[in-house]
Symmetry: C2
Subunit: 240 residues, 2 copies
């Protein structure tokens, strides 16, 4: 598969403590699939510079793109921008264009543009800003690392800003067949069909409904004709 | 903090493609917090042996415990047991006690105990089985790595089986204060209070409700007295 690849890095103690359910990964996964970018790995780390720097440097080297969420607000626990600068070995400062955006915004809404809020204009050297139509404080991209907010509505708006600027691949297509049979009864013929389609990815996902075992068979790939052929084989073998 | 640490490894193409929402991490995070085990990192990787082996070896070396979910069923895409054996450099075979459990189970429910289902009795050498009261096919622990199913009801049952066998730490306590003020207005005094409690972790989580900005201030730690003192300071400073 020659599609671009991606990783997601979620920065947040609140996910690791179980306080908050991470919704951003699921949203990004769907958005990237539609764009033909292949999400290959996700990590969640704590609000600690050393952990963030290590994950950023491992993931940006391994994948075409890295998307991060969380830690770019005004409070003391928001350390993502500094960690990204450290990961790239570049400086960080209050940038004029970000300061101008935020000055105008807080003037308009009538809130003091104090030192804490000015922290949100601290951007690593060489970064490109990511537009934030929801609350103005920008995200940013450094090379292949796209740094976004953790609040889901803002994260989603930033994904909508940055995704059209990236080179996509052939859209990742999928189809599925739901059978009311346990995985163990169909594993061997399912595996045999999967082996005949090496360019497709086939998975089986068991479930229980009303006490009965069932399995969703999912076929993924970029070639619609191959997917249709595989689905026809699966239907002939398993549909009742 | 001297509490035991943990990581979670989710194995599953279906999470990365956006088809399925991972619910197991959130469940495990809450269960570990209650037990005084400090979840420090989560990774999600694809159903590929190389990716699984690399993540397992990195995480089992870095943390007291590693919990995995997914990939231990009967189908060709279930490769977790083999990957764990490869990560530890040990053999894997159909184990007698697991075969006996599954033979009895399938006899009772009247399903054929075929070669695909027998794959679920393949256990790395030296592992300890994890009880699965839901669907019998066991999980297993190799040293500090606890390998469990991806289906949430089975994952949760396996966590309930394995967690009481692990040494916990002082329970991780938390309290929170909800204020209807933007983060930017409270960041400086909040940071000053946080700096006076170096043994506690304090975070702020913004939200928008009915068009108004609010912030949840969360205090975490193991010392109930310190948490109460910090909460009193936060309440005095910010509660309206």
């Amino acid at each position: 598969m020659t599609n671009p690849t991606a990783a997601m890095l979620v920065i947040g103690d609140e996910i690791l403590s179980g306080r908050t359910h991470d919704a951003n990964t699921h949203f990004l996964a769907g958005a990237l699939t539609g764009r033909g970018i292949n999400l290959r790995e996700v990590r969640v780390v704590a609000d600690e510079q050393e952990a963030i720097v290590a994950a950023v440097n491992a993931l940006r080297a391994a994948y075409t793109h890295l998307f991060t969420s969380g830690g770019i607000g005004p409070t003391h626990d928001d350390i993502t921008a500094d960690a990204i600068a450290a990961a790239f070995g570049v400086g960080i400062s209050h940038r004029a264009d970000a300061m101008a955006l935020l000055t105008a915004h807080y003037q308009k809404v009538g809130h003091e543009f104090n030192a804490s809020r000015q922290r949100m204009a601290r951007i690593p050297d060489g970064a490109v800003l990511i537009d934030n139509p929801v609350s103005i404080a920008p995200g940013f991209s450094v090379e292949n690392v796209h740094v976004m907010a953790g609040v889901p509505s803002i994260f989603q708006a930033m994904v909508a800003s940055v995704l059209p600027t990236l080179t996509g691949g052939a859209p990742l297509l999928s189809d599925s067949l739901r059978v009311m049979t346990g995985e163990g009864d169909i594993a061997a013929p399912f595996g045999a069909i999967a082996a005949r389609y090496p360019d497709l990815s086939m998975g089986s996902y068991p479930f229980v409904r009303d006490g009965a075992q069932g399995t969703n068979l999912v076929v993924r790939g970029t070639d619609a004709g191959q997917i249709a052929a595989a689905m026809a084989e699966l239907t002939a073998a398993f549909a009742r």
